[in-house]
Protein backbone atom coordinates (compact mmCIF):
# COMPACT_ATOMS: atom_id res chain seq x y z
CA UNK A 1 0.00 0.00 0.00
CA UNK A 2 1.46 3.36 -0.99
CA UNK A 3 1.49 5.84 1.87
CA UNK A 4 -0.33 9.10 1.23
CA UNK A 5 2.90 10.93 2.00
CA UNK A 6 4.60 9.29 -0.97
CA UNK A 7 2.24 10.53 -3.64
CA UNK A 8 1.89 13.91 -5.27
CA UNK A 9 -1.83 13.97 -4.60
CA UNK A 10 -1.65 12.88 -0.95
CA UNK A 11 -4.08 10.08 -1.69
CA UNK A 12 -1.87 6.99 -1.58
CA UNK A 13 -3.71 3.99 -2.96
CA UNK A 14 -6.75 4.37 -0.79
CA UNK A 15 -9.05 5.96 -3.32
CA UNK A 16 -12.52 4.51 -3.38
CA UNK A 17 -13.34 2.79 -6.64
CA UNK A 18 -15.27 5.28 -8.73
CA UNK A 19 -18.45 4.44 -10.56
CA UNK A 20 -17.49 5.10 -14.14
CA UNK A 21 -20.11 5.61 -16.77
CA UNK A 22 -19.78 5.30 -20.51
CA UNK A 23 -16.12 6.04 -21.07
CA UNK A 24 -14.80 4.50 -24.27
CA UNK A 25 -12.56 1.49 -23.95
CA UNK A 26 -8.99 2.44 -23.18
CA UNK A 27 -9.93 5.76 -21.57
CA UNK A 28 -9.19 5.59 -17.86
CA UNK A 29 -11.41 7.06 -15.19
CA UNK A 30 -10.83 10.71 -14.41
CA UNK A 31 -10.42 10.26 -10.69
CA UNK A 32 -8.66 13.39 -9.51
CA UNK A 33 -8.59 17.09 -10.32
CA UNK A 34 -5.44 19.00 -9.49
CA UNK A 35 -7.00 22.40 -8.90
CA UNK A 36 -4.47 25.22 -9.18
CA UNK A 37 -7.03 27.50 -7.60
CA UNK A 38 -4.96 30.63 -8.02
CA UNK A 39 -2.09 31.58 -10.29
CA UNK A 40 -0.82 33.89 -7.57
CA UNK A 41 0.96 33.55 -4.27
CA UNK A 42 1.79 35.65 -1.24
CA UNK A 43 5.33 34.25 -1.18
CA UNK A 44 8.09 34.51 -3.75
CA UNK A 45 9.98 31.26 -3.36
CA UNK A 46 13.21 31.21 -5.29
CA UNK A 47 12.67 27.63 -6.41
CA UNK A 48 8.94 27.50 -7.26
CA UNK A 49 8.38 25.46 -10.40
CA UNK A 50 4.94 27.03 -10.98
CA UNK A 51 6.15 30.66 -11.01
CA UNK A 52 3.04 32.27 -9.55
CA UNK A 53 2.46 36.02 -9.61
CA UNK A 54 3.60 38.00 -6.59
CA UNK A 55 3.38 41.65 -5.62
CA UNK A 56 5.63 43.03 -2.90
CA UNK A 57 4.94 40.32 -0.40
CA UNK A 58 1.23 41.00 -0.49
CA UNK A 59 -1.35 38.40 -1.33
CA UNK A 60 -1.62 38.40 -5.07
CA UNK A 61 -4.33 36.01 -6.15
CA UNK A 62 -3.57 36.49 -9.83
CA UNK A 63 -6.13 34.64 -11.89
CA UNK A 64 -8.42 32.34 -9.97
CA UNK A 65 -10.53 29.44 -11.14
CA UNK A 66 -14.04 30.70 -11.77
CA UNK A 67 -16.27 29.03 -9.19
CA UNK A 68 -19.17 28.55 -11.58
CA UNK A 69 -16.90 26.97 -14.17
CA UNK A 70 -15.49 24.72 -11.46
CA UNK A 71 -18.99 23.59 -10.50
CA UNK A 72 -19.69 22.74 -14.12
CA UNK A 73 -16.38 20.88 -14.42
CA UNK A 74 -17.15 18.78 -11.35
CA UNK A 75 -20.61 17.99 -12.69
CA UNK A 76 -19.10 16.91 -16.00
CA UNK A 77 -16.30 14.89 -14.41
CA UNK A 78 -18.20 12.97 -11.73
CA UNK A 79 -19.81 10.58 -14.19
CA UNK A 80 -16.30 9.96 -15.51
CA UNK A 81 -15.13 8.80 -12.09
CA UNK A 82 -14.11 11.96 -10.24
CA UNK A 83 -13.73 11.16 -6.56
CA UNK A 84 -11.02 13.46 -5.26
CA UNK A 85 -9.38 16.83 -5.72
CA UNK A 86 -6.04 18.30 -4.74
CA UNK A 87 -6.10 22.03 -4.05
CA UNK A 88 -2.88 23.81 -4.87
CA UNK A 89 -1.67 26.88 -6.66
CA UNK A 90 0.03 29.34 -6.37
CA UNK A 91 -1.42 29.55 -2.94
CA UNK A 92 -4.90 27.98 -2.96
CA UNK A 93 -6.09 29.84 0.12
CA UNK A 94 -5.75 33.10 -1.81
CA UNK A 95 -8.79 32.24 -3.88
CA UNK A 96 -11.45 34.70 -2.67
CA UNK A 97 -14.02 31.89 -2.54
CA UNK A 98 -11.70 29.30 -1.02
CA UNK A 99 -14.00 28.33 1.84
CA UNK A 100 -17.05 28.20 -0.40
CA UNK A 101 -15.16 25.98 -2.81
CA UNK A 102 -14.14 23.70 0.08
CA UNK A 103 -17.77 23.46 1.18
CA UNK A 104 -18.92 22.78 -2.36
CA UNK A 105 -16.39 19.99 -2.91
CA UNK A 106 -17.39 18.49 0.41
CA UNK A 107 -21.06 18.62 -0.54
CA UNK A 108 -20.12 16.82 -3.75
CA UNK A 109 -18.61 14.08 -1.55
CA UNK A 110 -15.16 14.52 -3.04
CA UNK A 111 -12.11 13.73 -1.00
CA UNK A 112 -9.90 16.81 -0.66
CA UNK A 113 -6.17 17.19 -0.21
CA UNK A 114 -4.22 20.43 -0.27
CA UNK A 115 -0.74 21.84 -0.71
CA UNK A 116 -0.36 25.23 0.93
CA UNK A 117 2.35 27.44 2.36
CA UNK A 118 0.15 27.59 5.49
CA UNK A 119 0.95 31.25 6.09
CA UNK A 120 -2.66 32.35 5.63
CA UNK A 121 -4.24 29.53 7.62
CA UNK A 122 -5.65 30.69 10.94
CA UNK A 123 -7.49 28.77 13.63
CA UNK A 124 -10.94 29.53 12.24
CA UNK A 125 -9.95 28.31 8.79
CA UNK A 126 -8.26 25.20 10.18
CA UNK A 127 -11.36 24.30 12.18
CA UNK A 128 -13.54 24.90 9.15
CA UNK A 129 -11.36 22.65 6.99
CA UNK A 130 -11.48 19.97 9.64
CA UNK A 131 -15.26 19.90 9.32
CA UNK A 132 -15.07 19.36 5.56
CA UNK A 133 -13.63 16.52 3.48
CA UNK A 134 -9.97 17.46 3.82
CA UNK A 135 -8.05 14.26 4.43
CA UNK A 136 -4.49 15.42 3.90
CA UNK A 137 -2.75 18.79 4.00
CA UNK A 138 0.88 19.43 3.11
CA UNK A 139 2.66 22.66 3.97
CA UNK A 140 6.12 23.97 3.19
CA UNK A 141 9.03 24.61 5.52
CA UNK A 142 12.43 24.85 3.88
CA UNK A 143 14.63 25.43 6.88
CA UNK A 144 14.47 25.22 10.66
CA UNK A 145 16.17 28.61 10.68
CA UNK A 146 13.54 31.37 10.37
CA UNK A 147 15.88 33.77 8.59
CA UNK A 148 16.94 31.19 6.03
CA UNK A 149 13.38 30.03 5.42
CA UNK A 150 12.36 33.64 4.84
CA UNK A 151 15.21 34.16 2.39
CA UNK A 152 14.25 31.04 0.46
CA UNK A 153 10.59 32.05 0.49
CA UNK A 154 11.35 35.63 -0.45
CA UNK A 155 9.21 37.22 2.28
CA UNK A 156 10.21 38.27 5.78
CA UNK A 157 8.02 36.69 8.43
CA UNK A 158 7.10 33.71 6.22
CA UNK A 159 8.56 31.22 8.71
CA UNK A 160 6.60 32.54 11.70
CA UNK A 161 3.41 32.68 9.65
CA UNK A 162 3.89 29.13 8.36
CA UNK A 163 4.53 27.80 11.87
CA UNK A 164 1.37 29.58 13.10
CA UNK A 165 -0.60 28.04 10.26
CA UNK A 166 0.80 24.57 10.90
CA UNK A 167 0.04 24.90 14.61
CA UNK A 168 -3.53 25.87 13.78
CA UNK A 169 -3.89 22.83 11.55
CA UNK A 170 -2.50 20.55 14.26
CA UNK A 171 -4.76 22.13 16.88
CA UNK A 172 -7.73 21.45 14.62
CA UNK A 173 -6.80 17.77 14.45
CA UNK A 174 -4.78 17.51 11.23
CA UNK A 175 -1.44 15.74 11.03
CA UNK A 176 -0.02 17.87 8.23
CA UNK A 177 2.85 16.83 6.07
CA UNK A 178 5.77 19.21 5.94
CA UNK A 179 7.47 19.51 2.57
CA UNK A 180 11.05 20.70 2.44
CA UNK A 181 12.37 21.86 -0.93
CA UNK A 182 15.98 20.82 -0.83
CA UNK A 183 19.00 22.28 -2.58
CA UNK A 184 22.65 22.63 -1.64
CA UNK A 185 21.92 25.53 0.68
CA UNK A 186 19.66 23.65 3.07
CA UNK A 187 20.46 19.97 2.51
CA UNK A 188 22.53 19.94 5.71
CA UNK A 189 19.45 21.02 7.69
CA UNK A 190 17.34 17.99 6.96
CA UNK A 191 17.70 16.43 10.38
CA UNK A 192 16.98 19.68 12.20
CA UNK A 193 13.88 20.12 10.08
CA UNK A 194 12.67 16.64 11.00
CA UNK A 195 12.99 17.54 14.66
CA UNK A 196 11.12 20.79 14.11
CA UNK A 197 8.37 18.91 12.26
CA UNK A 198 8.01 16.47 15.13
CA UNK A 199 7.86 19.27 17.67
CA UNK A 200 5.09 20.91 15.63
CA UNK A 201 3.02 17.72 15.54
CA UNK A 202 3.38 17.01 11.81
CA UNK A 203 2.41 13.59 10.48
CA UNK A 204 5.17 13.20 7.91
CA UNK A 205 8.00 15.03 6.21
CA UNK A 206 8.69 14.90 2.51
CA UNK A 207 11.92 16.06 0.91
CA UNK A 208 11.50 17.35 -2.61
CA UNK A 209 14.63 18.28 -4.53
CA UNK A 210 14.40 21.66 -6.22
CA UNK A 211 13.75 20.86 -9.87
CA UNK A 212 15.11 22.78 -12.82
CA UNK A 213 11.71 24.11 -13.84
CA UNK A 214 10.16 27.55 -13.44
CA UNK A 215 12.19 29.57 -10.95
CA UNK A 216 14.00 26.39 -9.96
CA UNK A 217 15.86 26.56 -13.28
CA UNK A 218 17.77 29.58 -11.96
CA UNK A 219 18.70 27.66 -8.80
CA UNK A 220 20.24 24.96 -10.98
CA UNK A 221 21.91 27.49 -13.28
CA UNK A 222 23.67 28.89 -10.23
CA UNK A 223 24.88 25.44 -9.31
CA UNK A 224 22.69 25.26 -6.21
CA UNK A 225 20.56 22.30 -7.30
CA UNK A 226 21.38 18.84 -6.02
CA UNK A 227 23.48 16.71 -8.34
CA UNK A 228 22.50 13.12 -9.16
CA UNK A 229 24.84 11.80 -6.48
CA UNK A 230 23.67 14.31 -3.90
CA UNK A 231 20.03 13.56 -4.59
CA UNK A 232 20.50 9.82 -4.22
CA UNK A 233 22.64 10.29 -1.12
CA UNK A 234 19.90 12.43 0.43
CA UNK A 235 17.21 9.92 -0.50
CA UNK A 236 19.09 6.95 0.95
CA UNK A 237 19.90 8.92 4.10
CA UNK A 238 16.29 9.97 4.59
CA UNK A 239 14.81 6.55 3.93
CA UNK A 240 17.60 4.72 5.74
CA UNK A 241 19.36 5.98 8.87
CA UNK A 242 17.12 8.98 9.47
CA UNK A 243 13.97 6.89 9.19
CA UNK A 244 15.61 4.43 11.60
CA UNK A 245 16.20 7.24 14.07
CA UNK A 246 12.90 9.12 13.89
CA UNK A 247 9.39 7.81 14.35
CA UNK A 248 7.79 10.35 12.02
CA UNK A 249 7.14 9.10 8.47
CA UNK A 250 9.82 10.37 6.08
CA UNK A 251 9.52 10.44 2.33
CA UNK A 252 11.91 11.25 -0.47
CA UNK A 253 10.80 10.17 -3.90
CA UNK A 254 13.00 8.83 -6.62
CA UNK A 255 12.04 6.11 -9.10
CA UNK A 256 11.63 2.84 -7.16
CA UNK A 257 14.33 1.10 -9.18
CA UNK A 258 16.85 3.35 -7.44
CA UNK A 259 15.67 2.41 -3.95
CA UNK A 260 17.02 -0.56 -2.06
CA UNK A 261 14.80 -3.45 -1.02
CA UNK A 262 15.21 -2.31 2.56
CA UNK A 263 13.97 1.17 1.66
CA UNK A 264 11.02 -0.23 -0.23
CA UNK A 265 10.17 -2.42 2.75
CA UNK A 266 10.27 0.59 5.07
CA UNK A 267 7.42 2.01 3.06
CA UNK A 268 5.18 -1.01 3.16
CA UNK A 269 6.87 -2.81 0.29
CA UNK A 270 5.16 -0.59 -2.25
CA UNK A 271 6.97 0.50 -5.37
CA UNK A 272 4.20 2.90 -6.34
CA UNK A 273 4.29 6.59 -5.61
CA UNK A 274 4.70 9.90 -7.38
CA UNK A 275 1.44 10.58 -9.18
CA UNK A 276 -1.45 8.68 -10.70
CA UNK A 277 -1.01 10.50 -13.96
CA UNK A 278 -3.42 8.43 -16.03
CA UNK A 279 -6.29 9.45 -13.77
CA UNK A 280 -5.53 13.13 -13.20
CA UNK A 281 -6.47 16.34 -14.93
CA UNK A 282 -4.99 19.67 -13.88
CA UNK A 283 -7.10 22.83 -13.95
CA UNK A 284 -5.09 26.02 -13.79
CA UNK A 285 -6.20 29.31 -12.26
CA UNK A 286 -6.79 30.60 -15.77
CA UNK A 287 -9.36 27.84 -16.33
CA UNK A 288 -7.06 25.94 -18.66
CA UNK A 289 -7.14 22.16 -18.52
CA UNK A 290 -3.60 20.82 -18.32
CA UNK A 291 -1.54 17.75 -17.52
CA UNK A 292 -0.72 19.35 -14.17
CA UNK A 293 0.96 22.57 -13.04
CA UNK A 294 3.58 22.09 -15.73
CA UNK A 295 1.00 23.56 -18.10
CA UNK A 296 1.80 26.95 -16.58
CA UNK A 297 5.33 26.75 -18.01
CA UNK A 298 4.71 24.63 -21.10
CA UNK A 299 1.65 25.78 -23.08
CA UNK A 300 1.48 22.64 -25.23
CA UNK A 301 0.60 20.70 -22.08
CA UNK A 302 -2.63 22.68 -21.79
CA UNK A 303 -5.50 20.92 -23.49
CA UNK A 304 -8.41 23.35 -23.52
CA UNK A 305 -10.31 25.97 -21.55
CA UNK A 306 -13.16 25.46 -19.12
CA UNK A 307 -16.27 27.15 -20.41
CA UNK A 308 -15.13 26.92 -24.02
CA UNK A 309 -14.11 23.32 -24.44
CA UNK A 310 -15.90 20.21 -23.28
CA UNK A 311 -13.99 18.65 -20.41
CA UNK A 312 -15.28 15.24 -21.40
CA UNK A 313 -14.11 15.67 -24.96
CA UNK A 314 -10.71 16.89 -23.83
CA UNK A 315 -10.32 13.89 -21.51
CA UNK A 316 -11.34 11.38 -24.14
CA UNK A 317 -9.97 12.89 -27.33
CA UNK A 318 -7.08 15.25 -26.74
CA UNK A 319 -4.21 13.90 -28.83
CA UNK A 320 -1.59 14.48 -26.12
CA UNK A 321 -3.58 12.51 -23.55
CA UNK A 322 -4.34 9.77 -26.06
CA UNK A 323 -0.71 9.51 -27.04
CA UNK A 324 0.32 9.42 -23.38
CA UNK A 325 -2.09 6.56 -22.67
CA UNK A 326 -0.94 4.64 -25.72
CA UNK A 327 2.70 5.13 -24.81
CA UNK A 328 2.15 4.07 -21.20
CA UNK A 329 0.28 0.96 -22.32
CA UNK A 330 2.88 -0.02 -24.90
CA UNK A 331 6.56 -0.90 -24.76
CA UNK A 332 8.18 1.74 -22.57
CA UNK A 333 11.35 3.38 -23.86
CA UNK A 334 14.91 2.60 -22.88
CA UNK A 335 15.63 1.04 -19.54
CA UNK A 336 11.97 1.45 -18.51
CA UNK A 337 11.11 -1.24 -21.04
CA UNK A 338 13.31 -3.65 -19.10
CA UNK A 339 12.42 -2.49 -15.58
CA UNK A 340 10.25 -4.62 -13.35
CA UNK A 341 8.87 -1.51 -11.58
CA UNK A 342 7.63 0.08 -14.79
CA UNK A 343 4.03 -1.06 -14.41
CA UNK A 344 3.67 1.01 -11.26
CA UNK A 345 6.34 3.67 -11.70
CA UNK A 346 5.02 4.57 -15.17
CA UNK A 347 8.26 6.46 -15.96
CA UNK A 348 7.91 8.39 -12.67
CA UNK A 349 7.15 12.11 -13.15
CA UNK A 350 5.93 12.73 -16.69
CA UNK A 351 6.06 16.51 -16.28
CA UNK A 352 9.75 16.37 -15.45
CA UNK A 353 10.32 13.90 -18.29
CA UNK A 354 8.78 16.42 -20.67
CA UNK A 355 10.80 19.26 -19.25
CA UNK A 356 14.02 17.28 -19.71
CA UNK A 357 13.37 15.45 -22.98
CA UNK A 358 10.31 16.89 -24.70
CA UNK A 359 8.48 13.58 -24.26
CA UNK A 360 6.02 12.72 -21.51
CA UNK A 361 6.56 8.99 -21.58
CA UNK A 362 10.29 8.71 -21.45
CA UNK A 363 12.98 7.39 -19.15
CA UNK A 364 13.09 9.50 -16.02
CA UNK A 365 16.19 11.72 -16.03
CA UNK A 366 17.35 9.97 -12.84
CA UNK A 367 17.06 6.47 -14.29
CA UNK A 368 18.65 7.66 -17.52
CA UNK A 369 21.62 8.97 -15.57
CA UNK A 370 21.85 5.77 -13.52
CA UNK A 371 21.81 3.79 -16.77
CA UNK A 372 24.45 6.01 -18.34
CA UNK A 373 26.73 5.50 -15.34
CA UNK A 374 26.14 1.76 -15.26
CA UNK A 375 24.46 2.13 -11.87
CA UNK A 376 20.98 0.94 -12.80
CA UNK A 377 20.53 -2.13 -10.59
CA UNK A 378 20.67 -5.36 -12.58
CA UNK A 379 18.25 -6.99 -10.13
CA UNK A 380 15.56 -4.57 -11.31
CA UNK A 381 15.93 -5.50 -14.94
CA UNK A 382 13.48 -8.03 -16.28
CA UNK A 383 16.30 -9.41 -18.40
CA UNK A 384 18.60 -9.73 -15.37
CA UNK A 385 21.57 -11.85 -16.46
CA UNK A 386 19.77 -13.47 -19.39
CA UNK A 387 22.44 -12.67 -21.93
CA UNK A 388 24.11 -15.90 -20.79
CA UNK A 389 23.61 -19.10 -22.82
CA UNK A 390 20.91 -21.55 -21.80
CA UNK A 391 21.51 -25.27 -21.47
Amino acid sequence: MTHAADTCDGLGESLPAPIVADLPEGVPALRTFYLYLSTGCNLHCRHCWITPTFVNGKPSPGECIDFELLKAAVAEAKPMGLSSVKLTGGEPVLHPEFLKISDFLTAENLRITMETNATLVDQDMARHLRETNFSFIAASLDSPDPGQHDRIRGVKGAFDAAVRGLSALVAAGFKPQIIMSVDRENVHQIEALIELAMSLGAGSVKFNPVVASGRGAEVHRKGQGLSFDELLEMTHRVRGPLQDRYSIYLSAMVPPALLTVRELLRHGGSDGGCCHVRNILGILGTGEMALCGIGRNIPELCFGMLGKDSLRRVWIEHPTLRRMRQDLAGQLPGVCGDCLHAGRCQTHCLAMNYEATGRLVNVSPLCAEAERRGQFPSTRRISCGREHPAA
Binding site: V261, L265, S270, D271, L340, I382, C384, R386, P389, A391
Partner: protein, 202 residues
Protein backbone atom coordinates in the same frame (compact mmCIF):
# COMPACT_ATOMS: atom_id res chain seq x y z
CA UNK B 1 13.36 -30.59 4.96
CA UNK B 2 11.32 -31.25 1.87
CA UNK B 3 12.94 -32.93 -1.06
CA UNK B 4 15.21 -35.04 1.10
CA UNK B 5 12.93 -37.94 0.49
CA UNK B 6 14.14 -41.46 0.89
CA UNK B 7 11.00 -43.04 -0.51
CA UNK B 8 11.38 -41.47 -3.94
CA UNK B 9 7.88 -40.09 -4.24
CA UNK B 10 9.46 -37.84 -6.80
CA UNK B 11 10.28 -40.66 -9.22
CA UNK B 12 7.08 -40.08 -11.15
CA UNK B 13 7.65 -36.33 -11.36
CA UNK B 14 8.88 -34.64 -14.50
CA UNK B 15 11.61 -32.05 -14.18
CA UNK B 16 12.91 -29.34 -16.47
CA UNK B 17 15.56 -26.69 -16.42
CA UNK B 18 14.36 -23.36 -15.00
CA UNK B 19 14.09 -20.73 -17.67
CA UNK B 20 16.31 -18.22 -15.90
CA UNK B 21 19.33 -20.52 -15.98
CA UNK B 22 22.50 -20.16 -18.05
CA UNK B 23 25.21 -22.82 -18.23
CA UNK B 24 28.89 -22.68 -19.10
CA UNK B 25 30.73 -25.99 -19.47
CA UNK B 26 34.35 -26.37 -18.39
CA UNK B 27 35.53 -29.94 -19.02
CA UNK B 28 34.12 -32.18 -16.32
CA UNK B 29 32.60 -29.26 -14.44
CA UNK B 30 29.91 -26.78 -15.39
CA UNK B 31 28.90 -23.46 -13.92
CA UNK B 32 25.22 -22.72 -13.65
CA UNK B 33 24.18 -19.08 -13.44
CA UNK B 34 20.84 -18.46 -11.80
CA UNK B 35 20.08 -15.24 -13.64
CA UNK B 36 17.29 -13.96 -11.40
CA UNK B 37 19.22 -14.24 -8.19
CA UNK B 38 22.62 -13.74 -9.86
CA UNK B 39 24.01 -16.77 -8.05
CA UNK B 40 26.45 -19.34 -9.38
CA UNK B 41 26.34 -23.08 -8.80
CA UNK B 42 28.97 -25.62 -9.80
CA UNK B 43 27.82 -29.01 -10.97
CA UNK B 44 29.65 -32.18 -11.98
CA UNK B 45 29.44 -34.07 -15.25
CA UNK B 46 26.71 -36.42 -14.05
CA UNK B 47 24.49 -33.55 -12.94
CA UNK B 48 25.17 -31.84 -16.26
CA UNK B 49 24.02 -34.97 -18.06
CA UNK B 50 20.86 -35.04 -15.96
CA UNK B 51 20.07 -31.49 -17.06
CA UNK B 52 20.11 -32.62 -20.68
CA UNK B 53 17.67 -35.42 -19.88
CA UNK B 54 15.44 -33.17 -17.75
CA UNK B 55 13.40 -31.94 -20.67
CA UNK B 56 10.04 -31.76 -18.95
CA UNK B 57 8.90 -34.91 -20.74
CA UNK B 58 10.81 -37.60 -18.84
CA UNK B 59 9.97 -38.62 -15.32
CA UNK B 60 12.74 -38.77 -12.78
CA UNK B 61 12.61 -42.56 -13.03
CA UNK B 62 13.11 -42.36 -16.80
CA UNK B 63 16.01 -39.98 -16.30
CA UNK B 64 17.60 -42.45 -13.90
CA UNK B 65 17.18 -45.26 -16.45
CA UNK B 66 18.72 -43.14 -19.20
CA UNK B 67 21.63 -41.96 -17.08
CA UNK B 68 22.34 -45.44 -15.74
CA UNK B 69 22.27 -46.80 -19.28
CA UNK B 70 24.71 -44.16 -20.48
CA UNK B 71 27.07 -44.90 -17.63
CA UNK B 72 26.74 -48.65 -17.96
CA UNK B 73 25.80 -48.98 -14.32
CA UNK B 74 22.92 -51.01 -12.84
CA UNK B 75 19.93 -48.80 -12.15
CA UNK B 76 19.68 -49.80 -8.51
CA UNK B 77 23.24 -48.64 -7.91
CA UNK B 78 22.52 -45.16 -9.27
CA UNK B 79 18.92 -44.71 -8.27
CA UNK B 80 19.51 -43.02 -4.98
CA UNK B 81 22.38 -40.78 -6.03
CA UNK B 82 20.68 -39.61 -9.22
CA UNK B 83 17.37 -38.94 -7.58
CA UNK B 84 19.10 -37.08 -4.79
CA UNK B 85 21.17 -35.06 -7.28
CA UNK B 86 18.02 -33.98 -9.11
CA UNK B 87 16.26 -33.01 -5.89
CA UNK B 88 19.36 -31.11 -4.83
CA UNK B 89 19.28 -29.17 -8.10
CA UNK B 90 15.61 -28.45 -7.49
CA UNK B 91 16.38 -27.02 -4.05
CA UNK B 92 19.13 -24.92 -5.60
CA UNK B 93 16.74 -23.45 -8.14
CA UNK B 94 18.40 -25.06 -11.18
CA UNK B 95 15.52 -27.32 -12.17
CA UNK B 96 11.84 -27.21 -11.40
CA UNK B 97 9.22 -29.90 -11.31
CA UNK B 98 6.35 -29.95 -13.76
CA UNK B 99 3.35 -29.94 -11.48
CA UNK B 100 0.03 -28.18 -11.36
CA UNK B 101 -0.28 -25.58 -8.67
CA UNK B 102 -3.60 -24.77 -7.03
CA UNK B 103 -4.53 -21.57 -5.27
CA UNK B 104 -7.41 -23.14 -3.39
CA UNK B 105 -7.39 -26.23 -1.27
CA UNK B 106 -9.27 -29.23 -2.58
CA UNK B 107 -10.49 -32.22 -0.60
CA UNK B 108 -8.15 -34.73 -2.25
CA UNK B 109 -5.01 -32.75 -1.46
CA UNK B 110 -4.35 -34.38 1.88
CA UNK B 111 -1.33 -32.82 3.51
CA UNK B 112 -0.71 -29.60 1.63
CA UNK B 113 2.66 -28.98 0.10
CA UNK B 114 3.56 -25.53 -1.11
CA UNK B 115 5.78 -24.64 -4.04
CA UNK B 116 6.82 -21.34 -5.56
CA UNK B 117 5.19 -20.35 -8.82
CA UNK B 118 7.89 -21.02 -11.44
CA UNK B 119 6.81 -17.94 -13.40
CA UNK B 120 7.84 -15.70 -10.52
CA UNK B 121 11.31 -14.24 -10.63
CA UNK B 122 13.13 -14.11 -7.28
CA UNK B 123 15.60 -11.24 -6.90
CA UNK B 124 17.44 -11.28 -3.57
CA UNK B 125 19.40 -8.13 -2.69
CA UNK B 126 22.20 -8.48 -0.15
CA UNK B 127 20.69 -9.60 3.16
CA UNK B 128 17.89 -7.04 3.02
CA UNK B 129 15.23 -9.18 1.44
CA UNK B 130 14.14 -9.73 -2.11
CA UNK B 131 11.81 -8.72 -4.89
CA UNK B 132 9.37 -11.16 -6.40
CA UNK B 133 8.20 -10.32 -9.88
CA UNK B 134 5.71 -12.06 -12.11
CA UNK B 135 6.14 -10.71 -15.61
CA UNK B 136 2.98 -12.43 -16.85
CA UNK B 137 0.78 -10.48 -14.47
CA UNK B 138 3.18 -7.54 -14.00
CA UNK B 139 2.82 -8.01 -10.25
CA UNK B 140 5.57 -7.34 -7.77
CA UNK B 141 6.16 -7.99 -4.09
CA UNK B 142 8.97 -6.79 -1.88
CA UNK B 143 9.75 -9.33 0.84
CA UNK B 144 11.89 -9.23 3.96
CA UNK B 145 14.78 -11.62 4.72
CA UNK B 146 12.58 -14.10 6.59
CA UNK B 147 10.14 -14.29 3.72
CA UNK B 148 13.07 -14.66 1.32
CA UNK B 149 14.23 -17.66 3.37
CA UNK B 150 10.76 -19.19 3.10
CA UNK B 151 10.78 -18.56 -0.63
CA UNK B 152 14.12 -20.31 -1.06
CA UNK B 153 12.85 -23.20 1.02
CA UNK B 154 9.87 -23.59 -1.30
CA UNK B 155 11.97 -24.18 -4.41
CA UNK B 156 10.96 -27.78 -3.66
CA UNK B 157 7.55 -28.77 -2.28
CA UNK B 158 7.26 -28.36 1.49
CA UNK B 159 4.52 -28.60 4.05
CA UNK B 160 3.91 -25.64 6.32
CA UNK B 161 5.38 -27.66 9.20
CA UNK B 162 8.55 -28.31 7.22
CA UNK B 163 8.93 -24.62 6.47
CA UNK B 164 8.49 -23.80 10.16
CA UNK B 165 11.05 -26.44 11.12
CA UNK B 166 13.53 -25.05 8.61
CA UNK B 167 13.05 -21.47 9.77
CA UNK B 168 13.42 -22.40 13.42
CA UNK B 169 16.69 -24.12 12.54
CA UNK B 170 18.14 -21.03 10.83
CA UNK B 171 16.62 -18.26 13.00
CA UNK B 172 18.25 -18.11 16.40
CA UNK B 173 15.98 -17.17 19.25
CA UNK B 174 12.70 -17.11 17.33
CA UNK B 175 9.82 -18.70 19.19
CA UNK B 176 8.05 -21.55 17.41
CA UNK B 177 4.70 -19.82 17.87
CA UNK B 178 5.89 -16.60 16.25
CA UNK B 179 7.47 -18.50 13.37
CA UNK B 180 4.29 -20.53 12.81
CA UNK B 181 2.24 -17.34 12.69
CA UNK B 182 4.64 -15.61 10.27
CA UNK B 183 4.81 -18.63 7.97
CA UNK B 184 1.07 -19.09 7.96
CA UNK B 185 0.41 -15.44 7.14
CA UNK B 186 3.05 -15.35 4.44
CA UNK B 187 1.82 -18.52 2.77
CA UNK B 188 -1.80 -17.39 2.85
CA UNK B 189 -0.91 -14.03 1.37
CA UNK B 190 1.35 -15.42 -1.34
CA UNK B 191 -1.13 -18.13 -2.34
CA UNK B 192 -3.90 -15.53 -2.68
CA UNK B 193 -1.65 -13.45 -4.92
CA UNK B 194 -0.60 -16.44 -7.00
CA UNK B 195 3.07 -16.21 -6.11
CA UNK B 196 3.01 -19.57 -4.31
CA UNK B 197 0.79 -22.52 -5.10
CA UNK B 198 -0.33 -25.75 -3.48
CA UNK B 199 0.93 -28.85 -5.23
CA UNK B 200 -1.82 -30.90 -6.78
CA UNK B 201 -1.53 -34.65 -6.91
CA UNK B 202 -0.42 -35.75 -10.39
Amino acid sequence: MAGKTGNFDALTVRFCLRNDVGIEDFGDRSLVLLCDSMRLREINALARKLLVFADGGRTLHEIVLRAAGDCGVPVQEMLHSIAEAMLQMERQGIVRRMVKLATERTEDMGEIKYLVNPDVSFRPEDDDGAILFNADSDSLEVINPTAAEIWSCLAAPCTQAQVVEHLCSVCDGASQGAVEKDVSEFLDSMVKKGFIGMVEKP
